[in-house]
């Protein structure tokens, strides 16, 4: 699992409240990604990071912000959660060597916004 953990694993919150999801890696990889997974849409990229304090938007970034103050942690924040943000959120890291360019995924966080 490339040493990736996500917290919390499950969260129920109310519309309008702020929510922060944490992704932690233990192997010092440069690239980290946040995806959301919804039925009928597969996985969609929200934001990604290519180093400390270096982040960029993905396909579905509206309503989300991210921060990376340390190599090992990549935080995803919903400033004011909405019901449309009910989803399963996956963090991933990217490894790269001569023969592979692989993303390893965390176990996911199931977020319900009521």
């Amino acid at each position: 699992d490339a040493g990736i953990t996500q917290s919390p694993r499950h969260k129920v919150t109310e519309t309008g409240t702020p929510v922060t999801l944490r992704c932690h890696q233990t192997e010092n990889h440069r690239y980290m990604y946040w995806y959301r997974q919804d039925p009928g849409h597969g996985l969609r990229l929200i934001h990604y990071s290519y180093g400390v304090k270096d982040t960029d938007k993905g396909e579905v970034s509206d309503g989300y912000s991210v921060s990376r103050s340390k190599t090992e942690d990549f935080l995803l924040t919903l400033e004011s959660a909405t019901s449309s943000q009910t989803s399963v959120y996956f963090c991933a890291i990217r490894t790269s060597d001569r023969s592979t360019d692989t993303q390893y995924f965390g176990p996911g966080t199931r977020l319900t916004v009521l």
Binding site: Y33, G40, L43, L45, S96, T102, Q103
Partner: protein
């Protein structure tokens, strides 16, 4: 919008049979990857094929890539009940930088009956 379209959406076969899943995409790519997701779990990387490769094997997996048709197929031979999962193709589009951003298809759900 989703880059990859997968076909079929669902597939049910008997143990020992072969399973074939197809993926089509829209833009030029650096590579195409296949991932597996067991119910309620994160994605697991299966195999990567680069744009200059046509076929790749890994154990019981065989992946083909036809860049002229912008399509790929994943063949699982001699399927087992443990192969029951959802399978996703993901493409890394060409473009500036080396961000490793992936665009996922909606997935094929495979059921292997014992």
């Amino acid at each position: 919008s989703q880059q990859g379209e997968e076909d079929p959406q669902a597939l049910s076969i008997q143990e020992g049979e072969n399973a074939t899943m197809n993926c089509s995409y829209k833009t030029s790519i650096n590579n195409l990857q296949w991932y597996r997701q067991n119910s309620g779990r994160g994605l697991v990387h299966l195999i990567l094929i680069r744009s200059n490769e046509r076929e790749k094997h890994s154990g019981r997996l065989r992946v083909t890539l036809d860049t002229s048709k912008k399509s790929s197929s994943l063949l699982i031979t001699a399927s087992r009940a443990a192969d029951t999962a959802s399978y996703f193709c993901a493409t890394e589009p060409t473009g500036p930088g080396n961000t490793g951003k992936l665009i996922f298809g909606q997935g094929t759900t495979l059921q292997v009956k014992p």
